[in-house]
Symmetry: C2
Subunit: 128 residues, 2 copies
Protein backbone atom coordinates (compact mmCIF):
# COMPACT_ATOMS: atom_id res chain seq x y z
CA UNK A 1 0.00 0.00 0.00
CA UNK A 2 1.79 3.08 -1.23
CA UNK A 3 -0.56 5.68 0.13
CA UNK A 4 -1.60 5.59 3.76
CA UNK A 5 -5.27 5.04 4.50
CA UNK A 6 -5.78 8.37 6.29
CA UNK A 7 -3.97 10.33 3.58
CA UNK A 8 -6.12 8.62 0.97
CA UNK A 9 -9.32 9.66 2.74
CA UNK A 10 -8.15 13.27 3.00
CA UNK A 11 -7.05 13.47 -0.63
CA UNK A 12 -10.19 11.71 -1.88
CA UNK A 13 -12.46 14.09 0.03
CA UNK A 14 -10.48 17.17 -1.06
CA UNK A 15 -10.59 16.05 -4.67
CA UNK A 16 -14.34 15.42 -4.54
CA UNK A 17 -15.03 18.84 -2.98
CA UNK A 18 -12.89 20.50 -5.66
CA UNK A 19 -14.47 18.51 -8.50
CA UNK A 20 -18.08 19.32 -7.63
CA UNK A 21 -17.25 22.93 -6.80
CA UNK A 22 -15.89 23.30 -10.35
CA UNK A 23 -18.80 21.29 -11.81
CA UNK A 24 -21.41 23.53 -10.17
CA UNK A 25 -19.67 26.90 -10.58
CA UNK A 26 -17.13 26.76 -13.42
CA UNK A 27 -17.82 23.58 -15.35
CA UNK A 28 -15.46 24.33 -18.25
CA UNK A 29 -12.53 24.22 -15.80
CA UNK A 30 -13.13 20.50 -15.19
CA UNK A 31 -11.00 19.93 -18.30
CA UNK A 32 -7.94 20.66 -16.16
CA UNK A 33 -8.59 17.47 -14.15
CA UNK A 34 -8.37 15.09 -17.13
CA UNK A 35 -5.50 13.99 -19.37
CA UNK A 36 -5.27 12.42 -22.85
CA UNK A 37 -5.57 8.88 -21.39
CA UNK A 38 -8.67 9.71 -19.31
CA UNK A 39 -11.97 7.87 -19.77
CA UNK A 40 -15.49 8.93 -18.77
CA UNK A 41 -18.56 6.68 -18.84
CA UNK A 42 -21.55 8.96 -18.27
CA UNK A 43 -24.87 7.13 -17.99
CA UNK A 44 -23.36 4.31 -20.06
CA UNK A 45 -21.87 6.56 -22.78
CA UNK A 46 -18.11 6.24 -23.13
CA UNK A 47 -15.89 9.25 -23.83
CA UNK A 48 -12.08 9.37 -24.13
CA UNK A 49 -9.52 12.13 -23.72
CA UNK A 50 -9.65 15.71 -22.46
CA UNK A 51 -11.41 17.27 -25.44
CA UNK A 52 -14.25 14.76 -25.76
CA UNK A 53 -14.78 14.49 -21.98
CA UNK A 54 -14.83 18.26 -21.64
CA UNK A 55 -17.25 18.53 -24.56
CA UNK A 56 -19.53 15.92 -22.97
CA UNK A 57 -19.57 17.64 -19.58
CA UNK A 58 -20.08 21.13 -21.03
CA UNK A 59 -22.98 20.01 -23.21
CA UNK A 60 -25.08 18.15 -20.68
CA UNK A 61 -28.75 19.13 -20.99
CA UNK A 62 -28.65 21.42 -17.96
CA UNK A 63 -26.63 24.56 -17.27
CA UNK A 64 -27.10 25.12 -13.58
CA UNK A 65 -26.85 22.29 -11.08
CA UNK A 66 -25.84 21.61 -7.51
CA UNK A 67 -24.24 18.41 -6.24
CA UNK A 68 -24.91 17.42 -2.62
CA UNK A 69 -22.45 14.77 -1.41
CA UNK A 70 -23.70 11.99 0.88
CA UNK A 71 -20.70 9.62 1.09
CA UNK A 72 -17.07 9.58 -0.09
CA UNK A 73 -15.15 6.29 0.19
CA UNK A 74 -11.47 6.19 -0.82
CA UNK A 75 -8.86 3.43 -1.14
CA UNK A 76 -5.30 3.39 -2.47
CA UNK A 77 -5.20 1.82 -5.93
CA UNK A 78 -2.81 -1.00 -6.66
CA UNK A 79 -0.23 1.02 -8.52
CA UNK A 80 1.78 4.17 -8.34
CA UNK A 81 0.12 6.13 -5.56
CA UNK A 82 -3.28 6.26 -7.23
CA UNK A 83 -6.56 6.57 -5.33
CA UNK A 84 -9.95 5.04 -6.07
CA UNK A 85 -12.96 7.07 -4.87
CA UNK A 86 -16.65 6.16 -4.80
CA UNK A 87 -19.08 9.02 -4.25
CA UNK A 88 -22.82 8.90 -3.59
CA UNK A 89 -24.96 11.98 -3.52
CA UNK A 90 -27.80 13.99 -5.00
CA UNK A 91 -27.93 16.26 -8.02
CA UNK A 92 -30.33 19.20 -7.85
CA UNK A 93 -31.42 20.47 -11.26
CA UNK A 94 -33.55 23.61 -11.79
CA UNK A 95 -36.18 21.69 -13.77
CA UNK A 96 -36.56 18.91 -11.19
CA UNK A 97 -38.58 19.29 -7.99
CA UNK A 98 -36.61 16.57 -6.20
CA UNK A 99 -32.86 15.97 -6.34
CA UNK A 100 -31.69 12.95 -8.36
CA UNK A 101 -29.56 10.35 -6.55
CA UNK A 102 -26.26 9.51 -8.26
CA UNK A 103 -23.09 7.46 -7.85
CA UNK A 104 -19.74 8.50 -9.29
CA UNK A 105 -16.43 6.71 -9.21
CA UNK A 106 -13.01 8.25 -9.85
CA UNK A 107 -9.62 6.58 -10.31
CA UNK A 108 -7.10 9.32 -9.54
CA UNK A 109 -3.49 9.14 -10.71
CA UNK A 110 -0.74 11.38 -9.29
CA UNK A 111 0.89 13.86 -11.64
CA UNK A 112 4.56 14.87 -11.68
CA UNK A 113 3.79 18.06 -9.77
CA UNK A 114 2.07 16.38 -6.84
CA UNK A 115 -1.54 16.77 -7.94
CA UNK A 116 -3.91 14.13 -9.31
CA UNK A 117 -5.75 13.67 -12.58
CA UNK A 118 -8.82 11.56 -13.32
CA UNK A 119 -7.91 8.41 -15.24
CA UNK A 120 -11.28 6.61 -14.87
CA UNK A 121 -14.61 8.34 -14.27
CA UNK A 122 -18.05 6.69 -14.10
CA UNK A 123 -21.32 8.55 -13.45
CA UNK A 124 -24.70 6.89 -12.95
CA UNK A 125 -28.04 8.21 -11.77
CA UNK A 126 -29.69 5.85 -9.27
CA UNK A 127 -33.32 5.40 -10.08
CA UNK A 128 -35.44 4.47 -7.09
Amino acid sequence: MEVESCHVDVVGKAFVDHYYNLFDNDRSSLASLYQPTSMLTFEGQKTFGVTDISCKLNNLPFEKCKHIISTVDSQPSAFGGGIVVLVSGSLQLPAEEHPLRFSQMFHLIPTQDGFFFVQNDFFRLNYG
Copy 2:
Protein backbone atom coordinates in the same frame (compact mmCIF):
# COMPACT_ATOMS: atom_id res chain seq x y z
CA MET B 1 -4.97 1.27 -23.30
CA GLU B 2 -3.89 -2.28 -22.68
CA VAL B 3 -7.26 -3.95 -22.77
CA GLU B 4 -9.65 -3.32 -25.65
CA SER B 5 -12.92 -1.63 -24.82
CA CYS B 6 -15.12 -4.51 -26.02
CA HIS B 7 -13.05 -7.11 -24.19
CA VAL B 8 -13.28 -5.01 -21.04
CA ASP B 9 -17.08 -4.91 -21.25
CA VAL B 10 -17.29 -8.68 -21.73
CA VAL B 11 -14.90 -9.46 -18.87
CA GLY B 12 -16.53 -6.92 -16.56
CA LYS B 13 -20.01 -8.34 -17.20
CA ALA B 14 -18.81 -11.96 -16.82
CA PHE B 15 -17.07 -11.12 -13.56
CA VAL B 16 -20.14 -9.34 -12.16
CA ASP B 17 -22.42 -12.27 -13.07
CA HIS B 18 -19.98 -14.68 -11.41
CA TYR B 19 -19.55 -12.52 -8.32
CA TYR B 20 -23.25 -12.12 -7.55
CA ASN B 21 -24.00 -15.74 -8.39
CA LEU B 22 -21.47 -16.73 -5.71
CA PHE B 23 -22.74 -14.05 -3.32
CA ASP B 24 -26.35 -15.26 -3.57
CA ASN B 25 -25.72 -19.02 -3.68
CA ASP B 26 -22.32 -19.85 -2.17
CA ARG B 27 -21.11 -16.76 -0.34
CA SER B 28 -18.13 -18.39 1.36
CA SER B 29 -16.61 -19.02 -2.10
CA LEU B 30 -16.22 -15.27 -2.66
CA ALA B 31 -12.93 -15.58 -0.76
CA SER B 32 -11.43 -17.07 -3.92
CA LEU B 33 -11.85 -13.70 -5.69
CA TYR B 34 -9.71 -11.72 -3.23
CA GLN B 35 -5.97 -11.70 -2.47
CA PRO B 36 -3.85 -10.50 0.48
CA THR B 37 -3.62 -6.97 -0.97
CA SER B 38 -7.39 -6.67 -1.49
CA MET B 39 -9.47 -3.93 0.15
CA LEU B 40 -13.23 -3.78 0.77
CA THR B 41 -15.13 -0.71 1.95
CA PHE B 42 -18.63 -1.93 2.84
CA GLU B 43 -21.04 0.83 3.83
CA GLY B 44 -18.02 2.90 4.91
CA GLN B 45 -16.30 0.13 6.91
CA LYS B 46 -12.82 -0.74 5.63
CA THR B 47 -11.55 -4.32 5.55
CA PHE B 48 -8.21 -5.61 4.24
CA GLY B 49 -7.03 -9.01 3.01
CA VAL B 50 -8.77 -12.28 2.16
CA THR B 51 -9.51 -13.41 5.72
CA ASP B 52 -11.06 -10.18 6.99
CA ILE B 53 -12.99 -9.50 3.78
CA SER B 54 -14.34 -13.05 3.75
CA CYS B 55 -15.28 -12.75 7.42
CA LYS B 56 -17.09 -9.47 6.75
CA LEU B 57 -19.07 -10.87 3.80
CA ASN B 58 -19.96 -14.12 5.57
CA ASN B 59 -21.21 -12.31 8.66
CA LEU B 60 -23.47 -9.71 7.12
CA PRO B 61 -26.80 -9.52 8.98
CA PHE B 62 -28.67 -11.53 6.35
CA GLU B 63 -28.17 -15.07 5.12
CA LYS B 64 -30.27 -15.23 2.00
CA CYS B 65 -30.24 -12.45 -0.57
CA LYS B 66 -30.64 -11.88 -4.27
CA HIS B 67 -28.82 -9.24 -6.31
CA ILE B 68 -30.59 -7.87 -9.38
CA ILE B 69 -28.18 -6.03 -11.68
CA SER B 70 -29.33 -2.85 -13.43
CA THR B 71 -26.14 -1.51 -15.04
CA VAL B 72 -22.53 -2.66 -15.47
CA ASP B 73 -19.98 -0.10 -16.75
CA SER B 74 -16.39 -1.19 -17.37
CA GLN B 75 -13.17 0.59 -18.34
CA PRO B 76 -9.55 -0.55 -18.62
CA SER B 77 -7.55 0.67 -15.64
CA ALA B 78 -4.34 2.57 -16.15
CA PHE B 79 -1.97 -0.25 -15.40
CA GLY B 80 -1.30 -3.87 -16.17
CA GLY B 81 -4.48 -5.02 -17.88
CA GLY B 82 -6.73 -4.22 -14.94
CA ILE B 83 -10.42 -3.38 -15.28
CA VAL B 84 -12.56 -0.93 -13.31
CA VAL B 85 -16.24 -1.86 -13.02
CA LEU B 86 -19.17 0.15 -11.61
CA VAL B 87 -22.36 -1.80 -10.90
CA SER B 88 -25.79 -0.48 -9.97
CA GLY B 89 -28.60 -2.75 -8.93
CA SER B 90 -31.04 -3.89 -6.27
CA LEU B 91 -30.59 -6.19 -3.31
CA GLN B 92 -33.61 -8.24 -2.27
CA LEU B 93 -33.52 -9.33 1.36
CA PRO B 94 -36.09 -11.67 2.95
CA ALA B 95 -36.93 -9.18 5.70
CA GLU B 96 -37.48 -6.25 3.34
CA GLU B 97 -40.64 -5.76 1.31
CA HIS B 98 -38.88 -3.69 -1.32
CA PRO B 99 -35.42 -4.29 -2.80
CA LEU B 100 -32.65 -1.92 -1.68
CA ARG B 101 -30.78 0.01 -4.37
CA PHE B 102 -26.99 -0.33 -4.26
CA SER B 103 -23.81 0.68 -6.07
CA GLN B 104 -20.67 -1.44 -6.07
CA MET B 105 -17.30 -0.75 -7.64
CA PHE B 106 -14.57 -3.31 -8.39
CA HIS B 107 -10.98 -2.79 -9.49
CA LEU B 108 -9.98 -6.11 -11.06
CA ILE B 109 -6.34 -7.10 -11.51
CA PRO B 110 -5.27 -9.98 -13.76
CA THR B 111 -3.66 -13.00 -12.13
CA GLN B 112 -0.80 -15.07 -13.53
CA ASP B 113 -3.24 -17.74 -14.73
CA GLY B 114 -5.40 -15.42 -16.80
CA PHE B 115 -8.18 -14.76 -14.29
CA PHE B 116 -8.82 -11.64 -12.24
CA PHE B 117 -8.90 -10.87 -8.55
CA VAL B 118 -10.58 -7.96 -6.75
CA GLN B 119 -8.03 -5.37 -5.60
CA ASN B 120 -10.52 -2.61 -4.67
CA ASP B 121 -14.17 -3.20 -3.71
CA PHE B 122 -16.67 -0.57 -2.56
CA PHE B 123 -20.30 -1.29 -1.65
CA ARG B 124 -22.90 1.36 -0.83
CA LEU B 125 -26.66 1.22 -0.42
CA ASN B 126 -28.38 4.14 -2.18
CA TYR B 127 -31.01 5.64 0.03
CA GLY B 128 -33.78 7.41 -1.83
